[in-house]
Point group: C2
Chain length 405, copies 2
């Protein structure tokens, strides 16, 4: 039996409920992959991730190649064993960190320029990116040369080297090395980068040697409809095990919708589709509606580290005075450890005193919230009720959020 298979079990218009089988178990899709940049989902233990329903984790090639080094991880038995996670693991190509974080800083933009509702979160995102910014980034047709943000060491990533590193890390799902452009790049540059990405995609397919890893290609093309279509035709026509949609998703939500509407028809029906780096509930709904199967995003854990809880009533800022004597659970009926055992007042106290347990408990809750949302979305697809569920959820989410603001 092939180590990978993807079957669509139900479809509701374009949205799909699938099962993606990997050598380390199945992923029920649509699924949210929790981000563990440094081979750890910030503040959480694998046992907790399992308990709250995590199906798969994504670690960052860029960070791990620099520290502890891919060969070290390989010697220690590969990422699964290294981080104590026996479920499916994903690594990205390294491209996003090398290029996009650098651009993001330079131009002060994120993955979708200007659509983020929380300025505070955005400032944090940019600050985090600054810390991880490569100090130099020179692109040529062969690859990219950069300096480590840790110690200034000169490093080079090429399609072949990205494959070599990702094979050493040993994730189940790996990504082709791509050039990720910023929303501020012009058409000509975006085309040039896209064409380079297409050449690199072929090189990655050729360089790949392991059969127990699924290689995903990445569609680029920025916010330009014709480039996205061209990239989807080219990448979608290659023999990848799945497809990522990467790069800048435009300046507003409608740009992301246009990009998904443009790209998805050209991707094979029988392979999973991963929208890279997106994870706000409203974006998840909009993307699932168009046929996306996989997501990854740091938002649930990043919000937690800044004292913000995701609930069906919208986002709660725990440091708000209103919570300091609130003896209720964070979210009524939520079965997660944070909600079962503690009050909003205690969580607020932990956040105000900068106690680690506070961000741990919010990370548990926020990821549980997103995993449950994905399960509920999947069930609604199976029941042919995706649109109803989307409308109900978002109406309530926004209505309450407006009330809290």
């Amino acid at each position: 039996m092939a180590p990978f298979s993807f079957s669509v079990e139900a479809q509701d218009a374009a949205s799909r409920a699938g099962v993606f089988s990997t050598p380390h178990g199945e992923i029920q899709t649509p699924a949210f992959v929790a981000v563990g940049t440094q081979a750890t989902v910030k503040s959480l233990a694998p046992s907790e991730l399992q308990e709250i329903g995590a199906q798969a984790l994504l670690a960052n090639t860029y960070h791990l190649m620099l520290r502890p080094g891919a060969e070290t991880v390989k010697k220690l038995g590969g990422l699964h064993r290294f981080m104590g996670w026996n479920g499916p693991v994903v690594t990205d190509s390294g491209g996003f960190q090398v290029f996009s974080l650098g651009w993001g800083i330079t131009h002060g933009v994120g993955k979708i320029g200007g659509i983020f509702p929380e300025e505070a979160d955005r400032a944090v995102r940019i600050k985090d990116a600054e810390e991880a910014r490569p100090r130099l980034c020179e692109i040529d047709d062969g690859g990219v040369t950069f300096r480590s943000h840790i110690d200034g060491t000169l490093e080079r990533l090429t399609p072949e080297r990205s494959m070599e590193i990702q094979e050493a890390l040993g994730a189940d799902i790996i990504f082709a090395f791509d050039e990720c452009t910023s929303p501020l790049h012009d058409y000509a540059y975006t085309r040039q980068a896209m064409e380079r990405t297409h050449r690199w995609a072929r090189q990655c397919l050729q360089a790949k040697t392991r059969d127990d890893q699924a290689l995903f290609g990445i569609v680029q093309g920025g916010e330009f409809r014709d480039l996205r279509e061209e990239s989807a035709r080219v990448i979608g026509g290659m023999q990848f095990g799945g497809f990522g949609i990467g790069g800048a998703l435009g300046k507003k939500k409608s740009d992301m919708h246009m990009i998904l509407d443009t790209v998805i028809p050209f991707l094979p029906q029988d392979k999973p589709r991963h929208l890279l780096g997106i994870g706000e509930p409203e974006d998840i709904f909009d993307a699932v509606e168009r046929g996306i199967d996989l997501f990854d995003c740091v938002i649930p854990t990043r919000l937690a580290r800044h004292g913000v809880a995701l609930t069906k009533d919208g986002k709660l800022v725990l440091s708000h005075r209103a919570f300091s004597e609130d003896s209720r659970a964070l979210e009524e009926h939520c079965p997660c450890y944070a909600c079962k055992e503690f009050s909003r007042a205690y969580l607020a106290h932990l956040i105000r005193t900068n106690e680690i347990l506070g961000l741990r408990l919010l990370s548990i809750h926020n990821l549980h919230f997103i995993f449950k949302l994905m399960r509920d979305i999947r069930a609604s697809i199976v029941n042919g009720a995706f649109q109803d569920f989307k409308r109900e959820f978002l109406e309530y989410y926004y209505q309450k959020r407006a009330a809290l603001a």
Copy 2:
């Protein structure tokens, strides 16, 4: 039945194996009480503490009176419910933070001046203390006036107010309000502070209203033998539910031994004795040998936050290059989660990348190590083999430590 009882089940010379019953369960002594300053043992959840064998937790009155406030904790059902810990809880009197941390900074000394082997740990200790230093501290015979280190609010602690706060917090074991002097205070001042402490002790006994809390008196007297004897006679003669030995324990380990040898004969045999703020393995052995039943100390969790693991081979500094490809468990045969599931190399990676999971796992291991040490000490007392166990443990601990240095 009285809510508190203390029975000595076995004795080996002066060392005692006891059972201290509280309204929230029994404490098998000698015991190490984990410190949870802000009503949380840094980085750990109550479920983890239970799993690694924590018997009781100590929270700091000074910190909690300022934030979230004792009345808030009371409204939320008291400390046990607030922090989700159903076992015995201890609060200190507030005196140590108000006085001693202030003095400690001013003079650059800790609880035992000059005996700490790890300068790095010491620097950290002083830095932590600085952050929590009250901004003003004026003592009179009625109490102490100080400014909150958080927002500068003028606060006052008196024996009566300390009792009121500790009753509102609702711990099982509470402490009389005392004046804690520095090793740099002279004889005359130390006597004056001791006499004030004795008057305050009587006031605390009178002010106490709850029957479900055991009030412990605190013996002071600095490093002066005659003052320690006088304080032990006076405090030991009052109707306390137990006794703490507080304040400066001198400039070297032999001073601490002298103080314990002086004080303990004057304390009632039928009450538990708590050596405040001490927790290095060698000090625990020396104190248990002299008849101490209870300890509390931040060392296991503080070392963890700085990447240091307690093992029977001494202290391991995980950031050391030697561990970066070490696939062995932190400590062979240790059943804690950190040792069962992860390698030294992974822990070293987490510490180097400042990932929270690293200090969490080391906190789990270090506290497990100390709790197990206390259980082993207790068993050795029951078996009449305390001296043998002490010799074996410390020989190995120091021999290996020397080898690692």
